[in-house]
């Protein structure tokens, strides 16, 4: 299942800013091997302005793909263009325009938290106000603390700050919230939303479904070094996936009779006594069919619930694997 990546329309966009339509990242038939292990195996990915989530389990090739875009790795074959540039040969031109957050590290062990951020700011022509950025990311309390003494969450937020301080057009975030507590994760999400609102494009890798659903305009699902599906979270959840309607009632209802009333591609079953499940294309029509069948049979359906498919389900269907290993 492949679909053209959804492009956020201007009205979909809170700040009403018009994004350029050309891709910010264009990866064609990328292959990257480490020794005998093939990390990326003919991967195609087109990311447009907005927030693109690269979603997949550990070892799927997310980091290798992103690091190739950042210019750290040379493709064994295939082409990579970032903002229209070759990340290896046109690195000098590209580097000032992108912001990079590595999965870990990147700071002198002897540096204080604010020192490294101020330093990265000095490497750019028009950096953000460092003090403001420190405040906004809740790093104010650890300004003079040594890097090694910061908590994992503080180190992550510092790395995030280093990625955005140079006012880049495009930011790469490699698992920006891995291991963060919910509050810190929310702070990071807010920053990603702010970036998007201000017209900065973001490519982020994640193995959190919720993160992709919350943040991304476009999701590329990666497994075993390939993109196996791409689209907006809504498209991915809708496409082909079946939804579920559950209700409870009297035990021992005539499921065969209910099934006859339903469209042909649906299934119905009594899972446990008095607990029923209908699987199919769940739309208002189907809901009406179920409730009127209940009315005809003198059943009061309680606890009716409709479950949309989540990206988690989609991933399971696509790969037969759980995302979180």
């Amino acid at each position: 299942m492949r679909s053209e990546p959804a492009r956020p329309s201007p009205d979909h966009h809170p700040a009403g800013r018009r994004f350029a339509s050309h891709p910010v990242v264009e990866v064609r038939s990328l292959v990257k091997r480490y020794g005998t292990k093939t990390a990326v195996d003919g991967l195609d990915l087109v990311a447009r302005a907005g927030v693109t989530a690269v979603l997949g389990p550990n070892g799927a090739g997310k980091t290798t793909t992103v690091e190739t875009c950042e210019g750290y790795r040379r493709p064994d074959s295939g082409t990579v263009r970032v903002l229209g540039l070759d990340p290896v040969r046109q690195s000098a031109e590209l580097r000032p325009r992108i912001g990079v957050m590595l999965q870990s590290g990147g700071v002198y062990s002897g540096a204080r938290a604010d020192e490294m951020l101020r330093h990265v700011a000095k490497l750019h022509a028009h950096p953000l106000d460092v003090d403001e950025l420190i405040e906004r990311l809740g790093l104010g309390s650890c300004g003079r603390t040594g890097y090694r003494r910061l908590s994992g969450g503080q180190q992550q937020r510092l790395a995030l700050a280093m990625a955005v301080v140079g006012r880049p057009e495009l930011v790469f975030l490699d698992e920006p919230t891995a291991g963060l507590d919910p509050q810190a994760r929310r702070a990071t999400w807010d920053l990603v939303r702010d970036l998007r609102a201000d017209g900065v494009s973001v490519i982020l890798t994640t193995h959190y479904m919720e993160e992709a659903e919350q943040l991304a305009d476009d999701v590329a699902v990666i497994d075993a070094g390939r993109v196996i599906a791409q689209g907006s979270p809504e498209e991915l959840c809708r496409g082909g996936a079946e939804n579920t309607l559950r209700f409870t009632g009297r035990p021992g209802l005539d499921v065969a009779s209910l099934l006859k009333a339903l469209p042909t591609d649906s299934t119905a079953a009594e899972l446990t006594p008095g607990s029923y499940r209908v699987v199919g294309k769940v739309d208002p029509q189907l809901l009406a069919t179920v409730t009127s069948w209940c009315a005809q049979h003198g059943v009061m359906p309680e606890k009716i619930s409709v479950e949309r498919h989540t990206l988690e389900d989609v991933f399971l269907e696509l790969t037969g694997k759980e995302l979180r290993s």
Partner: protein
């Protein structure tokens, strides 16, 4: 799936719209290199172990061996023999040992990797590292010279020859230090750099004259960069010789080989 979205894709209080609006650009190159050199120097001067290596040990050796007659340093004042050797040691401690250890850990902690995607070009980073080494060496030379004068040092010779020796020595040791930092693990670099420091301190004519070793050993030891540097500095500063071409030649070969190998084999992560 239900979640509370809060301020979905909006601008929470306190974040004015447009804060992050892209305005990319690299700072001017000289400013980037100056900032990088300043940071590297600050990191070096803040590190206790580095200071032990670059300041405390050379100072103590100079003061101790000049005032206590432990090692037979030949005719003349001990301080006149020791100061050139200690200056060579200072160059080695900063350009080789200190730089190797610091760079090894920068590589290990992803600092080099992170800087490689910043606007600072790689050669700019290396230029900054060299500048930081030179700044540290100037501080060392000033400190050691003051102490040596206090101990009655009377140097001779051509200051230009001394400068040339120090610069070539720095280049030779930098190449070897970066080669080690860019190819070995950080822990291995730490151990090896300290071991080499110790061995060359003893066997490189720093405080123990090479004449103390057998003639076969002397021939080999004389080719080491530390021996060439201490011998060259001693020829000029103690004996007032002109250009010590032989020693300069040895240092030049080490510099070319070391820097070329480092340039070819250095791994950034």
């Amino acid at each position: 799936m239900t979640t509370t979205t809060g301020t979905s894709a909006g601008t929470p209080a306190g974040t004015p719209t447009g804060t992050y609006a892209p305005r990319p650009g690299a700072a001017p190159l000289p400013r980037m290199i100056a900032a990088q050199a300043a940071l590297e120097t600050k990191m070096l001067l803040r590190n206790g172990e580095q200071l032990l290596l670059t300041v405390v040990i050379p100072t103590l050796l100079l003061a101790l061996f000049s005032s206590v007659d432990i090692v037979d340093t030949g005719a003349g004042k001990a301080v006149d023999f020791l100061t050139p050797g200690i200056l060579a040691l200072a160059v080695m401690s900063t350009a080789f040992t200190g730089q190797a250890i610091a760079t090894g850990f920068e590589r290990r902690y992803g600092v080099l990797k992170r800087l490689a995607s910043s606007p600072l070009p790689r050669w700019g980073l290396m230029t900054a590292k060299t500048a930081s080494v030179l700044v540290t060496e100037v501080l060392q030379v000033v400190l050691l010279t003051v102490i040596a004068f206090a101990l009655g040092w009377s140097p001779h010779g051509n200051p230009f020859a001394v400068l040339l020796l120090l610069v070539l020595g720095t280049a030779a040791f930098s190449g070897l230090g970066l080669l080690m930092a860019g190819t070995l693990k950080a822990e291995a670099t730490l151990a090896a750099a300290n071991l080499v420091f110790l061995l060359l301190l003893v066997g490189g004519g720093v405080i123990v004259p090479l004449e103390k070793f057998g003639s076969a050993a002397q021939d080999v030891l004389g080719l080491l960069p530390i021996s060439a540097l201490s011998d060259g500095l001693r020829d000029v500063l103690q004996h007032g010789a002109g250009m010590p071409w032989g020693d300069l030649g040895i240092l030049a070969v080490w510099a070319v080989v070391g820097l070329a190998a480092a340039g070819k084999l250095f791994r950034w992560e």
